[in-house]
């Protein structure tokens, strides 16, 4: 590649990077700017809107509830979906398409239609069992299915689950051991992805909570927005930062581990293969 072409390519890359960065950062910057404005144009900057988050009891209660819902939904999703998908792959591959269709179905049904469908059930549960906001996790389990299914399906497709489970079985492993010691450790990234998507969906959910008369984070933000626009924007920004932090945590835990053999294996003359990821091994085939 010629030098001028390389420079052009670098300029192009930098331009794209800046444009995309501006696309994402400008609204966030504007939100921050708005949330730190004083009461008038001449007033100095203030963090009052941010401190209000902690001082508004309804808001902190809603944040706590949404976080609890996110955890319950994620755990419920994993408990429900992972064994089902593993079982379908191993024992019932003929129903794979049906399960996929059922899991993706919630995407095609408008939220309002779902609410109308589940409202009588929720009404009954609220009267006869509990009126805790945490019962929203049932319906949230349904709406996170399409996203979680896709993430888990990609993870299962990346490993030879049939051979690994059969190998473990032949070594004496029961199904529980196969699941927790063989399958789960080999699809940790997919599990984290599925959880992150579930958390993101639950934290951003408004329609179900609002129409079923529960106050979750998004409903609380909308209420706060009626009285204090600054606080409303601060909470929105805080939830964005929370999601971003989660993404960072995911990328940290989910990245492929750099598995470097110990020093004694890297002696000159020992056989090994070229390793992916920053490896220093010298490739020599099997002897």
């Amino acid at each position: 590649m010629s030098r001028s072409r390389r420079i052009k390519l670098q300029v192009f890359r930098a331009t794209v990077f800046l444009l995309v960065g501006a696309f994402f950062l400008l609204p966030i910057g504007a939100m921050f700017e708005f949330s730190t404005r004083g009461n008038s144009v001449t007033s100095p900057r203030t963090v009052e809107a941010w401190t209000n988050i902690l001082q508004a009891p309804d808001l902190t209660k809603a944040i706590t509830a949404s976080l609890e819902l996110a955890v319950i939904t994620s755990v419920g999703m994993l408990v429900l979906l992972l064994p089902t998908m593993v079982w379908v792959r191993l024992r019932l591959p003929q129903v794979h398409r049906i399960v996929e269709f059922l899991c993706l179905l919630p995407l095609t049904i408008p939220a309002i239609a779902l609410v109308v469908g589940v409202a009588p059930i929720y009404h009954w549960i609220e009267i006869n069992v509990t009126d805790s906001i945490l019962i929203l996790s049932f319906v949230y389990l349904i709406i996170v299915l399409p996203y979680s299914y896709r993430a888990l399906d990609a993870g299962l497709a990346a490993i030879d689950i049939k051979t690994l489970s059969e190998a473990a079985r032949s070594l004496g492993a029961g199904w529980g051991t196969v699941m927790f010691r063989v399958i789960v450790p080999n699809m940790s990234t997919a599990l984290l992805n599925a959880c992150l998507l579930s958390v993101a969906v639950v934290l951003g959910e408004f329609t179900f909570a609002q129409l079923l008369y529960f106050v979750n984070l998004q409903v609380a933000i909308s209420y706060v927005g009626l009285t204090s626009a600054g606080t409303s924007i601060a909470v929105s920004l805080a939830s964005l930062i929370f999601a971003f932090t989660l993404l960072m945590v995911l990328s940290f835990f989910g990245r492929p581990r750099e598995r470097v053999a110990r020093a004694e294996e890297n002696l000159p003359g020992t056989e090994s293969r070229v390793l992916p990821l920053r490896s220093s091994f010298i490739g020599v085939p099997d002897k």
């Binding site: 490993i159 030879d160 051979t163 690994l164 059969e166 190998a167 473990a168 079985r169 032949s170 070594l171 004496g172 492993a173 029961g174 051991t177 010691r181 063989v182 450790p185 080999n186 598995r259 053999a261 110990r262 004694e264 294996e265 020992t270 056989e271 090994s272 293969r273 390793l275 992916p276 091994f281 085939p285 099997d286």
Partner: protein
């Protein structure tokens, strides 16, 4: 070096049957393996050999029949209770574990203490010559090394039976040959009764005490490698194992006549009439047309294929092509285009009818 299972146990399969959606995969397989014996099941794709192994492993359930280990009926036991070690065709090391952790995995399930796990997994890796790679993950090992670790892992639990499901088929020819010898060495050393499934006849003949040739869910012949090759029991075995000339002839008076040459029959009670005589290339010899080798068959050499110590000469007899396998030095005397006379050693031959052809291997 640790002693593993020591003397193996007798393994008996009794009239095993398995079908899938009406298609018979295994049609009454019966087989007895002596303690410590290595039996290879050989056959084309879809002949039922892998199904048989999976039934022995407990990974699938038989429709009927029994699997006995050392006189004990294990037919109803799930895979994790059968006490078998298995090496798969696909690489099956657990990717998140090192080689040593892989080998120790089965030991941990058998409640072996941590120190003992480490000791025995180390010994097993030493047995397969991979002590130096104990701390490597699967992606840091070559295909051959992964299969050796898988073998060590399977043997570490001191299984009653060792099952090898085409463990070499994903490897290149050179590694395959080396690992084949190594598997045999290890198997003899530990003495575990072993069932080896393969579609590679060279592999089966080289490694096994006895070879079982399977076709369409049935065992056609179970015998020593030498007997399988030199005394095939059925036309299918004759054609599937090794190269075979199909020579048109006529059965008459307990012999088959091919272009005037009369050959004795393995099964002399065959009915008279047209038939195909199955003759090994090494039973065919060549001589110059006016030379000293007697024989009524004459033709023209079409090709000579160099195979190393031997060469394969293809001769056109006019409407019939015959292969002869000769020492390379001898074959050099018959370049393509040479007129030659053929002689067929009068060994007893099998005959086939036109419809009985060996399936093409996928």
């Amino acid at each position: 070096m640790m002693a593993t299972a020591g003397a193996g146990v007798e393994v008996r399969l009794e009239d095993l049957r398995r079908s899938y959606a009406g298609v018979t995969a295994l049609d009454g397989l019966s087989l007895t393996m002596a303690p410590g014996e290595l039996v290879a099941l050989l056959g084309p794709s879809g002949c039922g050999k892998t199904t048989a192994m999976r039934l022995v492993a407990g990974l699938e359930e038989a429709n009927s029949g029994r699997v006995m280990f050392g006189g004990k009926d294990v037919t109803g036991l799930p895979a994790n209770k059968r006490d078998v070690g298995m090496v798969f065709q696909a690489y099956s090391l657990f990717p998140h574990m090192t080689a040593q952790q892989n080998v120790a995995f089965g030991l941990s399930l058998h409640k072996v203490g941590a120190a003992e796990q480490k000791k025995r997994s180390g010994e097993m890796l030493e047995l397969v010559g991979l002590s130096k790679y104990a701390n490597r993950y699967a992606h840091q090992l070559s295909g051959g090394q992964q299969q050796r670790v898988a073998l060590a892992r399977a043997l570490a639990i001191q299984p009653t039976v060792l099952l090898l499901d085409e463990p070499l088929s994903a490897l290149d020819a050179k590694v395959r040959s080396r690992l084949r010898d190594e598997i045999r060495r290890v198997q003899l050393e530990v003495g575990t009764t072993t069932l080896f499934v393969t579609h590679d006849q060279e592999e089966a003949l080289a490694i096994a005490d006895r070879v079982g040739v399977m076709n369409a869910g049935r065992l056609e012949q179970l015998d020593s490698p030498v007997a399988i090759y030199s005394r095939p029991a059925t036309p299918f075995v004759a054609e599937f194992v090794g190269l075979t000339n199909r020579l048109e002839g006529t059965v008459r008076d307990r012999e088959v006549e091919v272009r005037g040459v009369r050959l004795p029959l393995v099964k002399p009670d065959a009915p008279n009439g047209p038939a195909i005589a199955l003759v090994r290339p090494e039973a065919v010899s060549l001589g110059a047309e006016e030379g000293s080798v007697p024989g009524p068959l004459t033709g023209t050499v079409i090709t000579v294929s160099f195979l190393g110590a031997t060469s394969r000469v293809s001769v056109d007899l006019g409407g019939m092509t015959v292969l002869a396998q000769l020492p390379t030095a001898q074959a050099a005397a018959y370049p393509a285009g040479t007129r030659v006379r053929l002689a067929i050693r009068p060994d007893p031959v099998l005959i086939a009818r036109e419809v009985e052809k060996a399936p093409v291997e996928a």
